[in-house]
C-alpha cells in the first residue's frame, strides 16, 4: 500500500473521524466562549477534568451516559469558576485561563491518586461500543467513516449542529454573538451581559469536558496522566482557523484529525528510515500553514478578551 492509497481506505477515515470527535466537542465549547467575548484558556485542564470525571463515574459502577453527564457538570463548574473571575470581576482572561488549566489538571491527578493509590497500570472500563447505523454504514468509505462510530461521535456532530443552530437561529444565540462583538449593545437592549457571558462559558466548558471524556470513554478505555496532550490548545487554534464559525471549525477539526491519522500510517510505511518524530510533527506544521493561509483575514469577535463594566465608556 502506498501513501496515496491510504486516503481511499475506510479504516483511515474511520480513524480520522474518531480522532476528530473530542476536538469537535472542545472546539465548539471554545467557540461558544469566544463568541461571547471570553477566551477560555482553561480548556486543557477542563478536558482533563472531563476525561477523569467521566471515566471515574463508570469505573465506580456508573452508567456510561451518567459518566458523560458527570463530566459535563464537572466542566461546567470549572467554567463557572473561570467566568466568575473573568466576567463580573473582569480579571485577565489569559491569567485566569492558564490558572484554571493548572488547577484543574493538578486537582485531577491528585484526586486520581487519592482514589487509586495502589494501581500501577491504569484500570480499564468498558467503553462505548461502535453503533453502526443500519443502511448508512454500508455506503463505502464515507458511510463507513461517519456511521460506524460510537454514540459519542454522533453526539459530537450533533453538538456542532446544535451550536450552529443556537448561535445563528435563536434569540439567545444572537445575544451571545452580540456580547462578543459589542456588549454595550446587549446592555442597551435590556439583557445582562454578565448573565450571557457566564452562561456561555459554562456551556462551553461543559462541552470541553465531554470532549475530554470522549478520550477515556470512547477511545482509550482508561485514564492516565498527560492524556489530553495539548488537544485543548489545538482547539483554540481550530476556533481561529474556523473564523469563529461552527461549520468551518468542524471542518478544521476533521482536517487536523485526518493529518494525525495519516501520519500514523505513514510512520508504518516508512519502515523506520525517517525518524518517527518527523511524522508526529506533521499535523502541527500543517496546522500552522493552514492557519497562515486561511485565518489571516479572519474577523474575530471585537470584544474578545475585553471585560465589560456596566456604564463605562
Amino acid at each position: 500500500m502506498d501513501a496515496i492509497e491510504i486516503l481511499f481506505t475506510a479504516t483511515f477515515w474511520v480513524a480520522a473521524i474518531r480522532i476528530a470527535s473530542p476536538l469537535i466537542f472542545a472546539t465548539m465549547g471554545e467557540l461558544i466562549c469566544e463568541r461571547a467575548g471570553v477566551l477560555n484558556l482553561g480548556i486543557e485542564g477542563i478536558m482533563t477534568v472531563g476525561a477523569f470525571a467521566g471515566w471515574f463515574t463508570v469505573y465506580s459502577g456508573g452508567d456510561l451516559w451518567t459518566g458523560v453527564v458527570v463530566a459535563a457538570l464537572a466542566g461546567a463548574s470549572f467554567g463557572l469558576l473561570h467566568a466568575t473571575l473573568t466576567v463580573p470581576l473582569g480579571l485577565s482572561q489569559h491569567v485566569v485561563g492558564i490558572g484554571i488549566t493548572l488547577l484543574a489538571t493538578s486537582l485531577t491527578y491528585f484526586t486520581y491518586r487519592l482514589a487509586l493509590p495502589e494501581v500501577t497500570s491504569p484500570p480499564k472500563i468498558e467503553p462505548f461500543a461502535p453503533l453502526p447505523i443500519p443502511g448508512l454504514s454500508q455506503i463505502p468509505i464515507l458511510g463507513e467513516a461517519l456511521f460506524s462510530q460510537t454514540p459519542l461521535t454522533y453526539l459530537a456532530f450533533g453538538a456542532a449542529a446544535l451550536t450552529a443552530w443556537v448561535l445563528y437561529r435563536t434569540p439567545v444565540g444572537l445575544a451571545v454573538r452580540a456580547a462578543g462583538e459589542n456588549p454595550a449593545a446587549v446592555e442597551a437592549q435590556g439583557i445582562s451581559v454578565t448573565g450571557i457571558r457566564i452562561g456561555a462559558v459554562m456551556v462551553g466548558s461543559a462541552l470541553m469536558a465531554v470532549g475530554g471524556a470522549f478520550l477515556t470513554m470512547s477511545a482509550f478505555n482508561s485514564f492516565f496522566f498527560q492524556m489530553i496532550n495539548g488537544r485543548g490548545w489545538i482547539c483554540i487554534a481550530l476556533v481561529v482557523f474556523g473564523s469563529w464559525r461552527p461549520g468551518k471549525a468542524l471542518l478544521g477539526a476533521i482536517l487536523f484529525a485526518a493529518f494525525d491519522a495519516y501520519q500514523v500510517r505513514l510512520q508504518q510505511l516508512s519502515g523506520g528510515v525517517v525518524p518517527y518524530q518527523i511524522f508526529l510533527m506533521m499535523p502541527y506544521v500543517l496546522s500552522i500553514l493552514a492557519l497562515v493561509l486561511v485565518a489571516r483575514r479572519a474577523t474575530y469577535p471585537k470584544a474578545l478578551m475585553i471585560p465589560y463594566q456596566k456604564g463605562e465608556r
Binding site: 435563536t170 434569540p171 444572537l174 454573538r177 459589542n182 449593545a185 446587549v186 435590556g190 439583557i191
Partner: protein, 507 residues
Amino acid sequence: MTATEPVLRLQNITKRFGPLTANDSITFDLKRGEVIALLGENGAGKTTLMNILFGHYVADEGTVEVFGRPLPPGEPRAALEAGIGMVHQHFTLADNLTVLENIALGTQPLWRPRLDRVAAAARIQAMARDFGLEVHPGATVSALSVGERQRVEILKALYRDARILILDEPTAVLTPSETEALFRTLKLMVAKGLSIIFISHKLAEVMAVSDRVLVLRAGRLSGERETATTDRHELAALMVGQEVAQPTVEAVQPGRPLLELAGVSTARRGSGSALDGVSLTLRAGEITGLAGVSGNGQAALAALIAGTERPTSGSIHIDRHNPADWSPRAALASGIGRIPEDRHAVGSIGDMSVTENVVSERYRSQRFSRYGFLDWGAARRFAEQIITDYDVKCPSPDARIRLLSGGNMQKLILGRVLDSDPKVILANQPTRGLDVGAVAYVHGRLLEARRRGAAILLISEDLEEVLALSDRVVVMSKGRLSAPSARGERSVRELGALMAGHGAEAA
C-alpha cells in the same frame, strides 16, 4: 391621563463621581409631543443625566417618574419597558450582526428555539416607512454608513414602542443632508405623539428643532427658555456663563514664506484623494484656511506636512530649507507643530498619563532626557505648566488622558504644540466636536500664535470657521488646490462651487 400631564418627570437628580458633582439637583418635566433640547458644553453633565434616566447609572439622589410611575433606578430593562428609548452618541450596535438582528436583539424571549425574522422584518419595514428611516434589514451593520447606523439606533427604540426618545448628540456624526433627514424624522415622531429629548451643544440645531431649551452648566440647570422667545446669543451666554465674543483678527503684515510646497503629489492610500500637483505657500503671521468637502485630499496634505506621508514628486521647503529626508521626526525637527484631526486616535495615547502624552513628541530633547534616560521631573513640571497656562481641567498630571473631556484634551494638545513655538502649525479640524467656550479658546490661541509670527494652516470642514479666521482661503477638491483668495475676495457661493469641484483653477 390628561394631555397636559408630563410623560416624564425628573426631580432633584443628583449624581456625584468622587469629588465631582456631575448633576446637581436637576428637576424638569417633559410633555407629550414635546421636543426638549438639553444644551450644554462638553462635561456639563448632559450625558450623565441621560444615562441615569436610562439606567446605566444610579443617581445618588432624586427620582424619575415615567407616565406617573416611579422608574426603578439602574435597570436599562425597566427604562425600556417604561417606554424610554435612547440613541447613544457612541452607537450600541454589534457590527457583526445584521440590521434586523441588532433591532430584534432582546425583543423576543431568549429561550425561543427560533428567532422570528419574518415578523421582525415586516415590523421594521413598516416603521422605516412611517418615520422615513430607510434601512435594509438584511444588511450587516459593519457595511453601513454612520447615518444609516443612526437610523438603525432610532429604529431599535421605535421597535420597542418607545414613547420617549433620548438622542445624545445625534448630529455630531452626520452630514448636513443627513441632519435634515433626521429633523424630518423627529417631526414625524412628534406628530405621532412621541416626546423627544435632544442633547446638543450646537445652538443652530437646538433653535431649529426644539420647543423648549434646558441649559446645563457645570452640572446645574442654568436656564430654561421657550425656543420661540430666545435667541442664540442668550443661550450661548447661559451655556458658558458669559457673553462669547467673536474672534477679532487684527491686520498683520505677512512675513517670509515658512512652508513652501511646489507641485507635490502623493501616493494613493485608502479612500481619500491623494495630492495631485499641489503648490502652497504658508507665510509667517498668516492663517491659511483650507476649505473642502472631506475626503478630497485634506488627509493626504495633513499627513504630508506632518511627515507621515512622503511626496512622490515635487518639493518641500521649510523656511527656505529643503529637508533631506522627510519623516515625522524631520517635520518636528524643522519646526512643524501638529494638531491632529483625531485627538483620540492620533493626537493622544488614551491609556497613558497626561505627562507621558505631553512629552510624547519631544522626549528626545535635552529638556526631557539626560544620558538616554527620561527626566520625569522635567516632564511633570512641563505637564503642570501646560495644565496651568492652558486652563486644562484634569485631576493630576498622572491621570490617564482618556479621562479628559474633548475640550480639555484639545487644550492639552494645543499646549504641547504651541509651547515649542513652532514655525508652522498644522491645525487639522482643531475645533471639531468642541463646545462654544472651547472653540473660542482654541481660536484665540491660534490667533495668538499668528501674532507671534507662526504660519498656520487651518484645515476645517466648517466653512464659517475658515472664513472667520483665515487671511487667505484655498479650496481643495479631488486632491488639487484652488488658487488662494484673500479675506473676503470670494463669496461663500464661489467657494461652495470650488468645493464641489466646479471651475477648479490650477494653482
